[in-house]
Symmetry: D3
Subunit: 259 residues, 6 copies
């Protein structure tokens, strides 16, 4: 199986793959953010990278090094940026990273770029970074970019299985069933099931307050319980998302059907 | 042995280490840059991370996720930014990343931060990023930052052994004996000794020209030969640099002597 | 009834209200964006302003002039930024506007600021602008900011009445039942019911593509039908949202109960 | 009469006017700034908008939503930025707003753009914003921009009538005869003639001092007396400026003579 | 006579003067801009520097190195930025220079800083740069800054003598009688009286057009005739402005009367 | 001999030289930085300007006004930014200056631009400024830029003569033999040989610490002794560097051999 990780390939090998082979490049974007006492700070980057790798393997793709820091954690979807360990970037920094990377991949001759987001708070700054790069590249550039939040690929069937008591929505799914299950699949050694807290789901009003009302957030940083997580769920989710991302890549980028 | 990698630790474990234990935090900064046909694109981030880990283990330190993209490769020290695969950031982006990270580590209660640079071109933008953060934090902040380029720790004795025919200087040491030896030590599976090119060392005039004179640079991207590289040299270098960085950290940050 | 609009008050009157009376200040943020053939380009700013006024009247508040331009329209929630008439700001511009305004309101002695968002795409740049300002003001500032998207205040009961066939989600609610009903209530002369298009709801894949796939979006710019809109629904929604925002303001800002 | 205000038009109607009809677009830029005890904080945006509307009606033009916040008030022309209620933007924010808006109008197919400034302090940042946009659009763009401060259109004859005792210059004309008269014409309900202060005209040295010497400025914020203001003067000024701007637009943009 | 020029003093000498002696520091800001065929491109920086030196000598002041590049030349006051040789900065660059310099002078212990502008177009960006620095320094900083355009110090008596046929206003005074006379006084070897063009004064409409209407500007770049210039006039102006600036500095900065 | 200094030439003369004659333009970049008690604060800009002039005279070149302020002084090469008198710019400001200037020279029709750096700390921000400008100008621009640090032109023979006891390296050569000798040649009146301190050379560890460890740096600010400086050495160095820069310019820019 050919190498999937860009940082393990020589530039010559990379060049051959993207220029001659038209390999799509996947750029994972994560965060360094508290994920409760049972998941590691690197969860978002680890999952974005793992999902990227799984999908890349299905389309002869290449995975670029992840952006391991993301936008400021928000109380309602990441617990808030007051937690120790959460290490965040200003909006402009994150958008500039993405703009610079897109500009460089275009220079390499990459025409198929997939930006895989693993941190809810990143989305709009990825959008801006891509937009700034595309404006700079101009309408004649052959580059097409796909941007995705991987959890948007889960089907209703899968969600129904993973959340038999009903899906609480992605915002509250921070350090909860979905991420814990996926981590149990990809990085079981990094999950401490014994430390999953027993907090009830967080309940937020329909507005935000600044400075952060830290008492809105459970001290553990977990927004809804991860008790229902399992490795089997994680594998099912991981397989589905990789397969569906690969299908989307093939469809949108004019690649042939899967082998 | 306690966990060294921040992205594999929960926020609770991280907090205990940095707030109660005063653990120093190491932030590796690398690049995604051509390193000839025999070394991978991720060499600089891989080595900065590996050096950080080795040193961190000696001082009960924690290694934060690396910044995997660096400043634009220059012909005389990295081959130039025209190579396919080299993926670089604008100066402001890189400095802003560092500024944001330093600000966040200070918020965590980190008082001992070590920024370990593995890409020659990064140095001055790290300086600026740190300065912007320190200015923002103000003179009462308890944070102290150490910034280093790891190769500056090699002793003359080691350089004499590694370069028996004389040390060509760090600028030309791109994808050459030093980096290849270190990679043979840390990541032997990523080195293709059979592909080391036979180019004579690059010879540059005492000025730079823009747009880049690409014909100044060997097409392989290697500025001086890596033929003299060996795993033993790499191990000697790696051990020395880890030990000396650990000593510097203990001295400057008022930690006790090594156990 | 005292004047509600800041731009119609003298600075002396404004000062007395905010410094002596502790009046909350509402800052509406909208957009200039296509809203189909039946709603005007100013819909988002008009609605954010109208909602702000309605709520302000209930809490002796003041409404600052709206930011009338917003972040770039996205295909899935605003039709996309390729439409003629849609007039958008870069992320940094929008965040800077908000940062500057918050800084100034703090200087005025305002301690209760409510930022009322009327354009889905603005949310994260408002968050960043507020965060930048709060960081600059420092932890001793007496200013508290509430940020809200007004549609998050609708209760399930109201949504059930407004969308008897099921709520399609706020993203697709662009120029559709909610906004059309609210405009019928606040600005009936600006709604052209006869021009409501008959397009089926837009159906988007779980990713985005850049450059924008304009064929994903109905040529009218309407993402789901506005046929079910009515003035009565608009009035019910407007009344509810004003009342609930006022309640939230009173609760969070320590104002007494409504008169 | 066709609709003049962009925010009240659908995108379809707007598109037809600017793309097919070549309608000029007017962009008013004002401020939120103290204007003494007798004029409202919104005076500059209200007047820039009113002047734009009057002129637009004469040339089948469209008026975009005003930028309602402007550059920092200066002691010698706006009283200074220390007044409560004055709400100002940093230079870069204001220039970026204008740059973004010009870029977007160009994308719409607008070829005739008129930026109408109603706040003395804005001028140079409008210049920069326009320049940044024109540089980005490049020399092949069909867009032409006219920028004007509306008061520069008053003829010596009018000034002689409005200021029978001699014209003090526009800098001191803050919240004074000109603006008060214009407001009496356009927004009589917002003028409190009874509150016009009796301060003598401010007298400034030929330099500025930072931090602001607030004692140079009358506490009322009025730099010269508005006692001579009248609605008739306001009407005469308003009519003249609208007519002359319309003539300039027709001349510079190659429109036919007035109907 | 003690040294006046900062760049010719050692840091020790400078420190003694500003920290012990409280010497005011003058920072000249000019431009590199066409000044017709008879004056050099450096006119604005040369005059700002010369005026600064003359004034500094009267108050034991120190003159910092000039900022030799200024904001973009405008048609109505500098001929426009389309001239060859005119070398201008973006607004943000100029404001950032000033901000950085003010920050540094404050760090030196300078409490009396005089920014002497010699280029009409610079004024508002100096204002912004000073404001950004003062905001950063905070209200407890002992630094006071005076900003001036040197021509604002000419008295009506002097203007009457220099312009016996009436003063055309400073905007048109580009490369004309004032600047040519001052240059004849300070730098007679750089003035080519024989090359003064005979163009009639430029006549501008009350608005600006972008892209620049280059045909509004005389091809020589001179906006009104310099024919009336003389060395005597230059000396009278130079003496007056130095004396009056020195008086202002003494008054505002609490220095004793002139020796 | 034709005029060499741009700021002493009219725009007409400048235009003829650069557009018709293809004269190279030299842009000196220096600093305002402590250089010990025996050299002036302006040393770096004075030397960069003097070297530029000497070289320009050999190739019919033009010297633009120097950028007189540079990047923040670092302990190991300039003593550190804590010295009184050292007046530094942020990285972004310096890079933006250079970007703006390169853009403007390109507009003038300059095709041969030489940026002459006289301050060690500037190098990487000049690189970034040039890169930003070249990217903006695009690949079709006829402009070529040469960037150099003048001391890189000294030959081993010269270094051997200047440093008979061995060359300490350029970093420590701050206010030491090289700069003092060059100043004795170009500006003997600004050198106080009697004040050369007797400090031993500074000895730095292989890392940097922030906030600056000011006790690492001799209080004089001199990093190695200037005792060996002489005017003869200065002249030899100055002659060599001018000649070799001129040769490089002729070679790289396709000018004929020296007359």
């Amino acid at each position: 199986m050919p190498e999937t990780l860009m940082n393990r390939m020589s530039w010559v090998a990379y060049r051959d793959r993207v220029q001659d082979g038209g390999s799509p490049v996947f750029l994972p974007v994560g965060a360094t953010e508290q994920h409760g006492p049972h998941l590691p700070l690197g969860t978002d980057a680890l999952l974005a990278s793992a999902v990227s790798e799984s999908a890349a393997r299905l389309v002869d793709g290449i995975v670029a090094p992840a952006f391991a820091y993301g936008f400021k954690s928000q109380p309602k979807c990441g617990g808030g940026n007051h937690f120790c360990g959460t290490t965040s970037l200003d909006a402009q920094t994150l958008a500039a990273q993405v703009r610079d990377a897109v500009r460089e991949f275009a220079r390499h001759g990459v025409t198929r770029l997939v930006i895989v987001n693993g941190h809810y708070e990143n989305q709009w700054f990825l959008i801006e970074g891509i937009d700034l790069a595309m404006r700079e590249l101009g309408p004649t550039s052959p580059l097409t970019v796909m941007r995705l939040e991987y959890w948007d690929f889960f089907t209703p069937e899968t969600l129904a299985k993973v959340f038999p008591d009903g899906f609480p929505g992605y915002a509250l799914e921070h350090a909860a069933v979905m991420e814990t299950s996926m981590m149990l699949h990809f990085h079981p050694d990094l999950v401490r099931l014994d430390l999953i807290p027993d907090d009830p789901p967080a309940d937020f009003p329909p507005y935000d307050i600044y400075p952060t009302r830290t008492d809105w957030v459970p001290p553990s940083g977990v927004l809804s319980s991860a008790k229902g997580a399992s490795r089997d769920k994680g594998q099912a989710m991981a397989d589905e998302v990789a397969k569906l991302i690969a299908t989307a890549v093939r469809t949108e980028f004019g690649l042939g059907p899967a082998l």
